[in-house]
Point group: C2
Chain length 376, copies 2
């Protein structure tokens, strides 16, 4: 028996009852039955996104919604500010380039987080910037951004703030309306505990005003068309019916646990992980670590790629390695979605075992004991 | 108990074992485990698409792949020929317009099918046309196109042939390579017997040559990027893991039944439906009817919208009404995907009952008996 444990920052495990909900009879999407589901999902999404504005559902991965957040708000030749501190900040810049949008780059050393005062200064120096693109949790480094403060800074300008919250959402706090976040982009396969295949995009009035002026071509991801259907509790294209059924279930789970409790649980699991890896003698990589994923420096002399591989192939625990320039230098353990303390403890136990196999001097149970101590 | 019967041209019923396959443990997409699935799915897709060329899998509905088939092949200002005989032909034209591509329109009366000789003449008159866009089955009218002959005509020119086979695929014959079809666009929720959320796009060498020259902006649907990942049995963005697991299963089912047998079964069910509705005294709408869906004229004096509604709400059988200008004038019964003779017979029995309720003079069992006679 090879039991499979998914501890990567997406996809994350899907609760069994949600898997079974998605295995129910397929129904047609243009029927009162499905419209009723969509109607209550739309209400619950607003609640979970802490917004009174529309949250659109797309049949695509998160990158599709990231593209929509550029092609619908600006035009070719417009300037946007992209906060680039990892692979997903880079993705925003790549999309902008593909569409001829000019990127003013705020490049951060990977592992560090954006300084809101620098964002403020860059906006002052470039008053023509139409939109600021940030990540909530930069999945590739495990860093969380200070969206609250960035929101305060951007709100004072004409620019809108777009946040890629794909991996951080439901793990790190994000008060969409209160913090002045105009667009939040999410995916289904992270904190939402669903399979990949759905993306979400919330859009506030300041961003909605930009839709009419955006001249970039689009069709499938045209938010004007999507909003028109949304107003009728419909979707412009055939929706991913089974995933939306699952969404209905996970939103109930999230609301039942309580949004604040969900985030607190992630903070708790992240804290256990951080303290346990420190107890093993390892060093954290992110200066401002996210609650979604903990990035850990691979100790000198240890094979970081091998560590992730042995965890997966021998221990049955799928964690993530470093991406791009961080390959082999960090590993990343998620505590995201359908996770509790024992899941986290299991990951730590596996890491202890594999580190020892790779020649690292670790006393079994040190990290595990730290986790146990912190259990609530 | 309200048993739900899905007889619409997408979504279609999903076999129970496929539903359960998709309910299996979520796994990570960048792992040897998932790569192995993708590798065999890629091989089986080629077989089912009757092509030796790549068949790309996208996380989107079919409309996303339709968009990709325009934005990757041509540039703004280029001319394309769109065969427009219903809602989905119109969609190609709308996408082209959104991207500034010039559409030469071959408008057909809804219910009729394209004349390949007219396509030939239009290509002669407009030698600058870069691509021809046709549907296999125009879902809105139930008409099947003569793709074999259109393929022969287009193959003699520099233009490529793109076929939206979303609803017709696996029901109507389509020999991709043999018939010179350069791009086939498909969706998961029709003949493939899966939930909506995946799109497929096959691309042959004549179309692939156009990718480099296309100047239209794109990112999520960039086929150059998708082909690069495809070559490594990978996907550029997070794939819809659970739906691809289901795809692995349905492809086995299709290959086990045999591609020709699958199409023959659809032809058989379509024939039963056509003969049965004629036995009831109704008239077929499509001149060249598809094997995917049978469109039937609503008899004079009968409420066509009410018929579809009563079928759904009182009989539990979801069929489709007419779209656009055909609203209330036709109804459409699918025999698509996971369907056999008794499913078809059930739809006919329901139609008899509802027609009688609406005041149409029908003798119970007439259509049903015709179906029974034709049973194999």
């Amino acid at each position: 028996m090879n039991k499979y444990r998914l501890m990567s920052p997406g996809p994350t495990p899907v609760p069994e009852k949600v898997l079974l909900r998605m295995a129910d009879t397929m129904i047609h999407h243009r029927t009162p039955q499905f419209q009723e589901v969509l109607k209550r999902v739309n209400v619950k999404l607003k609640q979970v996104f802490s917004t009174k504005n529309p949250v659109l559902i797309m049949a695509s991965s998160g990158s599709g919604a990231m593209e929509a957040s550029i092609t619908n708000l600006v035009s070719a030749g417009d300037k946007i500010l992209v906060i680039k501190g990892g692979k997903f900040g880079e993705r925003f810049a790549e999309i902008a380039e593909a569409y001829g949008v000019e990127v003013v780059e705020y490049a951060i050393v990977w592992g560090e987080s954006a300084d809101p005062r620098i964002v403020e200064n860059m906006l002052k120096e470039n008053p023509e910037i139409k939109a600021v693109y940030s990540t909530l949790c930069e999945t590739s480094t495990g860093v969380v951004s200070d969206i609250k403060e960035i929101g305060r800074v951007v709100a004072k300008t004409n620019a809108v703030l777009v946040v890629d919250a794909i991996s951080g959402f439901l793990a790190d706090e994000l008060k969409t309306d209160k913090w002045g976040v105009d667009v939040v982009v999410c995916g289904s396969q992270k904190g939402f505990m669903l399979p990949p295949g759905l993306a979400f995009l919330s859009i506030g009035p300041k961003a909605e005003k930009l839709l009419a002026g955006s001249k970039l071509p689009k069709y499938y991801f045209d938010l004007k068309v999507a909003l028109k259907s949304y107003g009728k509790d419909d979707t412009p294209w055939t929706p991913a019916v089974s995933l939306i059924m699952g969404l209905d279930s996970v939103l109930d789970m999230i609301i039942e646990e309580g949004l604040d409790n969900v985030i607190e649980r992630h903070a708790y699991l992240a804290n256990i992980t951080r303290e346990a890896v420190k107890a093993i003698g390892l060093e954290l990589f992110a200066l401002n670590p996210s609650n979604a994923v903990t990035s850990v420096k691979v100790p000198d002399g240890i094979d970081g790629v091998g560590l992730v591989k042995k965890m997966r192939d021998e221990q049955g625990i799928t964690i993530a390695g470093g991406q791009g320039s961080l390959k082999g230098k960090i590993f990343r353990v998620a505590h995201l979605g359908y996770m509790d303390g024992y899941d986290t403890m299991t990951a730590i136990a596996g890491i202890e075992i594999v580190l020892k196999q790779l020649g690292y001097d670790v006393k079994f149970g040190k990290g595990v004991a730290k986790a146990q101590e912190l259990f609530k």
